[in-house]
């Protein structure tokens, strides 16, 4: 084999959904391919493989990211949560339940990415992160429908379940707020 096309491998550690994995990866491998091919976690989907559709969205060190644009080797030591890790003790997260209740999907292909993305949207809003439609940057944003649409714009749905997705995120945000108020 020509030395120019000899793959380069390296060892990395990933903590995925709470479990530590020691892996030998090709430096070219995306985090997405590593999750799907090496770890068998096929929940994260390959839509466009260019960061444009969001089907591959995972939580990377607590933040949503396109796993297709992340090189696995560059995230050695990272903690990753995929759609398989959103449920706790066999119970769906409030957001997952809201997607079911509000018809937030049809074919389901984009749903794992939508769920991971929306999980982060709730967290980002909680931390007071603004968005492009936030009028007053000095105030804490309120997750109204315009804010949800803008914040979820990195996730495409070819079935057009957007109405249900917006309702689901709105409902989950409301439930989370109610729970926080009770606590």
């Amino acid at each position: 084999m020509d030395s120019e096309v000899t793959p380069v491998h390296t060892e990395i550690t990933l903590v995925v959904n709470g479990t530590e994995h020691r892996l030998r990866v090709d430096t070219r491998a995306s985090l997405l391919d590593t999750l799907r091919e090496d770890l068998g976690l096929t929940g994260s989907k390959k839509g466009c493989d260019h960061g444009q559709c969001g089907a591959c969205t995972v939580l990377l060190d607590g933040r949503r990211a396109n796993a297709c644009l992340a090189l696995a080797v560059a995230h050695d030591g990272a903690e990753v949560v995929t759609v398989e890790g959103l449920a706790r003790d066999g119970r769906l997260s409030p957001l997952q339940e809201a997607f079911i209740e509000q018809d937030g999907f049809q074919c389901g292909y984009c749903t794992p990415g939508q769920l991971c993305s929306a999980t982060a949207v709730l967290d980002e809003a909680d931390r007071g992160w603004p968005s492009a439609v936030t009028g007053d940057l000095s105030a804490d944003p309120v997750l109204d429908d315009d804010e949800i649409r803008e914040r979820m714009s990195g996730n495409l749905c070819r079935c057009g379940a957007y109405m249900g997705i917006v309702r689901a995120v709105r409902e989950a945000a409301r439930k989370t707020e109610t729970e926080e108020a009770r606590a």
């Binding site: 260019h50 960061g51 644009l69 090189l71 050695d76 714009s153």
Partner: protein, 324 residues
């Protein structure tokens, strides 16, 4: 994708040491990894600079900001200080990409991202930027979203960054570490017009590493506005970063930079000059916008950008004048 060696640098000195011919620095990878997958870039070695100790935003006593090159786009836009002191900068960053991409993308990488001209991104097509001397199909082909200002026979590409447009209006400077040590470059001089060398996006030399961006204080109303083909997650057709200071009905200070119109963030110096000392009224904003856009040389399918840019300037200045 061509195989490559991956190295992670822990300091700027180490990054420069690890950088050799055929190497690329890797930040968040949101553009570079995609270009590698498309076969547009084929680095033999990646030097990961995303974990260098320059991931902080510092507000200095004089009100200026020092933003580390490894700061993520998300952290920059969410920073309370930046939102209060330089709202135009936070707005510009939030106008770009998606929430997922902004989490990965770094400040340094945002500045050095490549054009999204469809010919540049298609390794099977001629492109003077990707393959010098091969020609520019965009001049006669698909160019509705490409440059109207400062383009050349060789290249009509635009720079895609929103953040860089705000930084151009803010007179930011870029801290660069190179083979001969550290230096600073005004952001407005970092990116080039294409001329006969469209393969060079910036004035940086091979191995140069952007370590930080310094932003002078801003104490006048400012805003960033972007027009695109869908409501979110799209590159600008035209965008504007503007700041305006009005006193007694007269323009005391004004900054205008345009995005989506040229190979670099386009600082509208002609318009600014026409406005300084002029009455802060719509007719003057219009006159100033036209003075700038007299320089425009639209292509067959992008002449719509001229009135779009003009209207964007007039509307944004009018709004800022009401706040001033």
């Amino acid at each position: 994708m061509r195989p490559f060696v991956y190295e992670r640098a822990t300091s700027a000195d180490e990054a420069l040491r690890l950088h050799e011919d055929g190497a690329f620095y890797l930040g968040g990878g949101t553009n570079l990894v995609d270009l590698m997958r498309l076969g547009v870039e084929e680095p033999a070695r990646l030097v990961d600079v995303s974990r260098l100790p320059n991931g902080e935003i510092e507000l200095r006593p004089d009100g200026s900001l020092l933003i580390g090159a490894a700061v993520s786009n998300s952290d920059l836009a969410a920073d309370r200080t930046v939102r209060e002191s330089h709202p135009m900068l936070a707005q510009a960053v939030l106008a770009g990409a998606s929430g997922q991409i902004r989490n990965l993308a770094t400040v340094g990488g945002n500045l050095l991202q490549r054009t999204r001209c469809s010919y540049f991104q298609d390794a099977d097509k001629p492109c003077n930027k990707r393959n010098p001397g091969s020609g520019c199909p965009a001049r006669e082909g698909e160019h509705h979203n490409l440059a109207i200002l400062g383009h050349s026979e060789a290249c009509v590409a635009t720079h895609p960054s929103d953040m860089a447009v705000a930084l151009a209006a803010l007179d930011a400077t870029v801290h660069v570490q190179g083979r001969d040590g550290e230096r600073t470059t005004p952001l407005r001089e970092l990116h080039r017009l294409p001329g006969n060398e469209p393969q060079r996006d910036t004035v940086l030399d091979p191995g140069d590493l952007i370590t930080a961006v310094e932003v002078p204080p801003l104490d006048i109303p400012s805003r960033y506005r972007k027009v695109r083909e869908r409501a979110s997650f799209a590159f600008a057709l035209v965008s504007i970063a503007a700041a305006l200071d009005v006193e007694g009905g007269t323009v005391r200070d004004v900054r205008i930079a345009l995005g989506g119109v040229a190979h670099k963030p386009w600082r509208a110096l002609r318009a600014e000059e026409a406005l300084r000392g002029a009455p802060a009224i719509g007719e003057e904003f219009q006159r100033a916008a036209e003075a700038e856009l007299d320089l425009a040389e639209p292509l067959r399918d992008n002449a719509y950008k001229v009135p779009l840019a003009r209207n964007l300037i007039v509307r944004t200045l009018t709004e800022l004048g009401e706040q001033s």
